[in-house]
């Protein structure tokens, strides 16, 4: 069996080599310059300077800015990095894997559920020994969903076979990005550079970086490919099927690579110190030399705790604080060395290994202590989850807990404890507000429940004729009578199209509805705890899985009805998705349609990942600017056509597919009623509405209905339905003398206004051609039931 040649690392070697490399090209500047930048910006800057080949990515807060910044640099011609916006993190990790097997220098950045979704791919990368670097801007994982920072995502990576650096400052994000790649390529393992989401990823601070890209590249050295994949003379098989005893041998070698990395660290750090003047080690301590009480924590909290140590030292207390720069390999020896005078340790984790009596850092510190003769009291605390701020006072409280013999061994810090912990709050309803009088009321005091009697008013009726749905009634004024399923006071932007479309949909549906929202603006603005806008049963699930989850929910309802545990009667199950949710969740939606689950998939298409600050989605119009498709010297905006989702869904053979626009409310209501009827009685139905986003379309909120109308009139968003496989055009702008060039629509929005300029004429022409082609197809299909 071919094996990778193992090279033992010789520290002096590399340092000499780098210096040698430097001296060959004397014009290379060793100078450093000061930046005022965030961790995300420094990560992007490091990536640009290194000159990566490929970045496979999918935007997720708070790591998104890394891809955004790199895209901006691309647009300005500052980097030729190939950036591939995959349709989800799983695919993004796949792109990275492929590119690294192909011999490229490869980069990725993610957070939270993005990391969870990519997780399956990570051991493949390490097990087949392809180096790359992934930045992890740490964020809490769902659910309940939160976008803020803690380390619950990263700790899932501990067993992935990746090197894991942890940076507690923007400066370290830069430095570790350089060192991580160097080490990764040396030991042939992928590396993660982790840092606090928001605290480090977003706070702007003084940082230093090398002025000259060539200097950085000289430090990294050239990429070595011991087994080039594209060497057709020597074809390789990568990723064998392996039985025992080979598999354990493979894993053993991975373990040895980690050992190699451990041995390589001193030279890695000393070499970098010589080049940059910044000295790092596997751990960083402050006043640990003679400290009796040491607080151990990761990330930005370390810096905050420094203030606490200064205050305690001023009082004559022997306090110290310590953090780790590496989680893998775990620097047990250095850690023990740094704690040798300590009598008390408190390890504070921004995550919990539930049931284990501490977060993973605290468990590993405890395990490391087993190897020493030290007798030291160790306490574990879980704090700061979901980005809960960490103040100097909190660090002081932790020191106090460490010194207090009566304080528990393991505890959460900064929570309210229930009177009887064993009840785990099962019976409480939770307060609606921080202040009385709304505390602890168990149901809404504001609205009467929306029972079937209150909504089945017969304003909109659907009947079956020749196997097809026919709608009667549904006049705009009359449907106002149907009570709204959401309450006002939600946090959508002024002029947002989501509630508009949602209400247009539901005013046509008189049966009780069960809602599932995939992650997105629609979900975030309606359900910030402890309030909710929904007046009907509502469930949230993640982007990739909404349709499948609703299938399960619907199935359970039918089963309960069958068993007589629920009264019979029609419910309409509706999944609502937008903000690109049918990019990452397309597989689940198509699977559901193919199974023919009786539910309605409603897509509010706002043409971008608006909930994370507008990155391109597959339905963003070609040429549109977004945070990941900037306009500049070398880019004109998004480079490919908008996805034709209704045709994709129609290809599943589902009984009803339609598009609707708020500019034609009567048509919208009719289609919504039909879709609900099909979802209730026949199988999966899909309804898509174009949804305005004034914030990111960059137009005036009051103009949105006319912008939507223009999208319809230029045929970018044709109105049609596919009922039992037969296409029917609902509106032909040309026939009504309303057809406008796509340019007129593009000119209405800030995100596409630039396309009107002469230099972008070819882009607009290409888009016009594609739109016309799609519309002609529709027309043909509309005229011929067999197409």
């Amino acid at each position: 069996m071919p094996r990778l040649r193992k090279r033992r690392f010789k520290p002096a070697d590399t340092a000499r080599k780098v210096r040698k490399n430097m001296s060959i090209t004397e014009q290379i500047s060793t100078e450093q310059i000061t930046e005022y930048a965030s961790g995300n910006e420094m990560a992007a800057e490091a990536a640009r300077q290194i000159g990566y080949d490929v970045m496979g990515y999918y935007p997720i807060t708070p790591s998104t800015q890394i891809a955004e910044n790199l895209d901006l640099m691309r647009a300005k011609g500052q980097t030729d990095l190939v950036m591939i916006a995959a349709e989800g993190e799983h695919s993004a990790a796949g792109v990275c894997y492929g590119a690294s097997v192909g011999g490229g220098r490869v980069f990725n950045a993610t957070s939270a559920n993005g990391l969870m979704y990519a997780l399956e791919q990570l051991p493949v990368q390490s097990g087949t020994r392809y180096p790359m670097v992934m930045n992890v801007a740490c964020r809490t994982i769902s659910g309940p969903l939160s976008i803020k920072g803690d380390h619950s995502d990263l700790m899932f990576m501990l067993n992935a076979g990746w090197l894991i650096f942890f940076a507690h400052s923007a400066q370290e994000v830069y430095d570790f990005n350089l060192m991580a790649l160097k080490l990764a390529e040396q030991v042939r393992l992928p590396a993660a550079v982790a840092f606090d989401g928001f605290f480090t990823s977003h706070q702007k601070r003084r940082c230093r970086r090398f002025a000259d890209d060539a200097y950085v590249r000289g430090y990294i050295g050239s990429r070595k490919e011991p087994f080039p994949f594209f060497d057709l003379e020597h074809p390789l098989t990568v990723g064998s099927y392996m039985n025992e005893p080979d598999l354990i041998q493979n894993r053993y070698e991975l373990h040895l690579a980690m050992k190699d990395a451990e041995h390589a660290l001193p030279a890695l750090f000393s070499e970098y110190a010589a080049l940059s003047g910044r000295t790092y080690g596997p751990v960083e301590g402050y006043y640990t030399k003679d400290a009796e009480t040491i607080l151990i924590l990761l990330g930005s909290s370390f810096d905050t705790a420094l203030e606490a140590v200064d205050r305690l030292r001023a009082q004559g207390k022997k306090a110290g604080v310590l953090t780790l720069h590496l989680l893998r390999p775990f620097p047990a020896e250095t850690l023990l060395q740094a704690c040798r005078t300590a009598k008390r340790l408190l390890v504070a984790d921004r995550q919990d290994s539930y049931g284990a009596g501490g977060g993973n850092l605290s468990l590993e510190v405890r395990a490391a202590l087993q190897r020493s003769v030290m007798t030291v009291s160790v306490k574990s605390r879980v704090y700061g989850l979901g980005g809960k701020d960490f103040f100097v006072e909190d660090a002081l409280a932790m020191f106090a807990a460490a010194d207090d013999p009566s304080a528990p061994d393991f505890d959460y810090y900064g929570v309210d404890k229930p009177q009887n912990e064993s009840l785990a709050c099962a019976d409480t309803c939770g307060p609606l507000s921080k202040a009385p009088p709304y505390a602890d009321t168990c149901r809404s005091e504001f609205f009467a429940p929306l029972t079937a009697e209150r909504t089945r008013l017969g304003v909109t009726k659907v009947s079956e004729q020749d196997g097809r749905a026919v709608v009667q009634g549904g006049q705009l004024n009359a449907t106002i009578k149907i009570p709204k399923r959401i309450a006002p006071g939600h946090g959508a932007c002024p002029g947002c199209g989501i509630p508009v479309n949602f209400n247009l949909l539901l005013r046509a549906i008189e049966d009780p509805v069960i809602l599932l929202f995939q992650t997105g603006c629609g979900m975030i603005v309606t359900t910030p705890y402890p309030k909710t806008s929904f007046k009907v049963p509502y469930l949230h699930n993640l982007f990739q899985n909404g349709a499948a989850t609703l299938s399960g929910l619907a199935e359970m309802c039918y089963r309960k009805q069958q068993k007589g545990e629920l009264p019979p009667g029609d419910l309409v199950f509706i999944m609502v998705s937008g903000d690109g949710g049918l990019d990452i969740g397309m597989g689940s939606a198509i699977g559901t349609a193919l199974r023919g689950h009786r539910l309605l998939l409603f897509e509010y298409d706002n043409g971008g990942y608006m909930n994370t600050g507008y990155q391109l989605s597959y339905s963003t119009p070609m040429g549109a600017k977004s945070a990941t498709s900037h306009v500049g010297k070398t880019q004109y905006g998004k480079s490919f056509f908008h996805k034709d989702m209704p045709r994709l869904m129609a290809a599943t053979g589902m009984p009803y597919v339609a598009t609707a626009a708020e500019s034609d409310p009567a048509d919208f209501i009719r289609k919504a009623a039909k879709a609900a009827w099909y979802a209730k009685t026949q199988g999966t139905a899909y309804l898509k509405a174009l949804s305005a986003c004034p914030l990111n379309w960059n137009d005036k909120p009051e103009s949105e209905r006319s912008v939507i109308a223009a999208a319809v009139d230029c045929c970018f968003f044709p109105l049609y339905e596919v009922e039992r496989g037969i296409t029917a055009l609902s509106y032909d702008p040309a026939a009504k003398n309303k057809k406008i060039p796509v340019q007129d629509w593009l000119a209405m929005m800030g995100r596409t206004k630039h396309l009107v300029r002469e230099e972008y004429r070819p882009v607009v022409d290409e888009l016009q051609l594609e739109i016309d082609r799609r519309f002609l197809c529709l027309k043909q299909q509309s005229e011929n039931p067999y197409l």
Partner: protein, 377 residues
Amino acid sequence: MTGSTKLPLTNDNGDYEIRLESIGGLGANLCGKMLGELGLRYLGLNSASFSSYGSEKTGTPVKAFIRYCDPKKEIRVHSPVISPHLLCIFHDALLADKDVLKGCTKDTVIVLNTSDAQDSAADRLQRLLTKTGICALYTLPAQQIAIETHSRINVVMLGAAAKASGFIPLTAAEEICSETLGRKYPDALAANLAGLRAGYESISRLQAPPDANHTYRHADGRAMAEEHAMAEKHAMAPMPIGGINPHFGSSVINDVSPSRQGYIPVFLQEKCINCGLCDSACPDMVFQFKEGTYRGREMMVNCGLDYYHCKGCLRCVAVCPTHALVKELEAEHPRKEWFLPNQELLRSPDYYEKAGADGYITSESYLTEKRMAGGEV
């Protein structure tokens, strides 16, 4: 960078702290970034800055935090600014939220954007602060200045903040503004610099009320710790299992009126034909229709607007075929004639809470670009 500016005050950590209180859309995030960066680049200080984090939307509260310190020192704390030395309030509607003034001490200098027509806001602020006592209160009509100079409120406020701080020279603010906005859009720069200078020159100091000489607390660690402990107490409460929420429709107690940017739709019922287009275009369920008769026909009749939940997007004005809804300045309608709270409510809430969650900035590059282009962000 020659020598470093002397900071007039610092807290226990050695930091001078600034907090910007704003609502999404006024550009406080960018203003905070400029203030932070100018500390490093033009004052010779070390500095750090960040905004309140959340998802991306206009009209919700946004805070930005800036810290300065001696260049030889590192800025260690990462937590929000609790007790600012300089507090800039970008919109007087924010005074309704008392958290906006959280942590003010006798050392706090406040800059408030308020128009002359609404000087009551300044009065109100002074009264609110009588208990704490503050160092100085400055006001300026930043919105008006922005309109007159074709600039944006954030640069006007940047100028005002520089002047009020007492140690940020106008030239430093101009430099950072040019550096941030200038390169790509030279036309916008001239206007923004004019707005910046006007902001610098237009602040006027309000005299302290005669009885303002009392109980305030020092910006020392103890006081901060106390406030912090109080905040902790409020933020935590037991939760039903799994975080489920039985309070259906409870967002109705949010009063979203701070999202409005000066305009409201005004209803002229005599012109209304009850077509219902307004209701179909309104994202916020503002229109209160009831069963009734119009021209002898039984139908749903528009009876008024729920201004608690109107964000002032004016979509309804744009779709109304008979001009029964018109765009008017809110200031000219202190009594809203057709104000009708949500009719589905079983009872009216005991109180309304001003516009909900923290506003939020998660990504910057695209928004910044839009701001520079003079977009409506």
